[in-house]
Amino acid sequence: MAAAALREQLNAHIASMYASGMVDEQFQQLQMLQDDGSSPGFVAEVVTLFCDDADRIITELSKLLEQPTVDFDKVDAYVHQLKGSSASVGAQKVKFTCMQFRQLCQDKNRDG
């Protein structure tokens, strides 16, 4: 009973993530890959890797943006990496934010 309630809660949470645009179809693809195979921890593994990656990248971005002269090429490279991994896991909002961020890098807009 407790497991069923937890499952229902999880499904509701995932549904709200789709509804709010936080995740997109790619996240559904990952769920389907997990359901297809014999890897019940697949989605959790991918999400964990994404969070660890994102944490590392954001730390590096913070250091770069604190410099008196910002190396926008390096910033853009990190943002590009984050955009790629966010797109791969279906983290839509992060992906769109990265796209905007990359435009600011191209404009050399530090304040943006």
């Binding site: 693809q29 297809d36 890797l49």
Partner: protein
């Protein structure tokens, strides 16, 4: 249709598809592995950069791999360098019997280079990070399908007669 280099299983069994994944990021390795596992019947080798991919192709032979999935940007030789520079001819021969899938939008350039080598094998993009304009550009450059998911990968492999 190009002949596949996949080994032939016993009669009635599906052929094994030999795939070389060229990817340095763990998250993409994990996703690609699961995608290929879902397809089934795949032997997977992983190279973490273009130079290692070249070595693997040289060691295994031009016709060993049926499919090469490569990231556009990697440390130590990018994917497009793997295609077009010193290992271009070797990879082109391999590509005659397999097809190259590139992950990033700049794979449009790699696709054109491959076509310029006279390779007619279908080229498929493996990426969830694409805009409609990028998909069009990739297909206009000569690719066959983009982006890639399990259903499309299965369809393309079937279309090529690899599985």
């Amino acid at each position: 249709m190009a002949t596949s280099s996949a080994s032939t299983e016993q009669q009635g069994r599906r052929r094994i598809v030999r795939v070389l994944l060229v990817e340095d990021e763990a998250i993409h390795q994990v996703i690609a592995r699961q995608l290929l596992k879902a397809v089934g019947g795949v032997e997977l080798d992983v190279a973490v950069n273009g130079a290692e991919a070249v070595r693997r192709v040289q060691e295994r032979g031009a016709y060993y791999y049926d499919l090469i999935l490569t990231d556009r940007q990697m440390p130590v030789m990018d994917g497009h360098e793997v295609i077009s520079d010193r290992v271009g001819p070797l990879l082109a021969r391999s590509l005659a019997d397999s097809f190259l899938a590139t992950r990033h939008r700049r794979s449009v350039q790699a696709t054109r280079q491959i076509r310029a080598l006279g390779v007619t094998t279908p080229i498929v993009g493996l990426s969830s990070d694409c805009l409609a304009a990028d998909v069009d550009a990739f297909i206009n450059a000569g690719a066959d399908d983009f982006p890639l998911n399990k259903e499309k990968l299965d369809r393309v492999l079937t279309k090529l007669g690899i599985v």
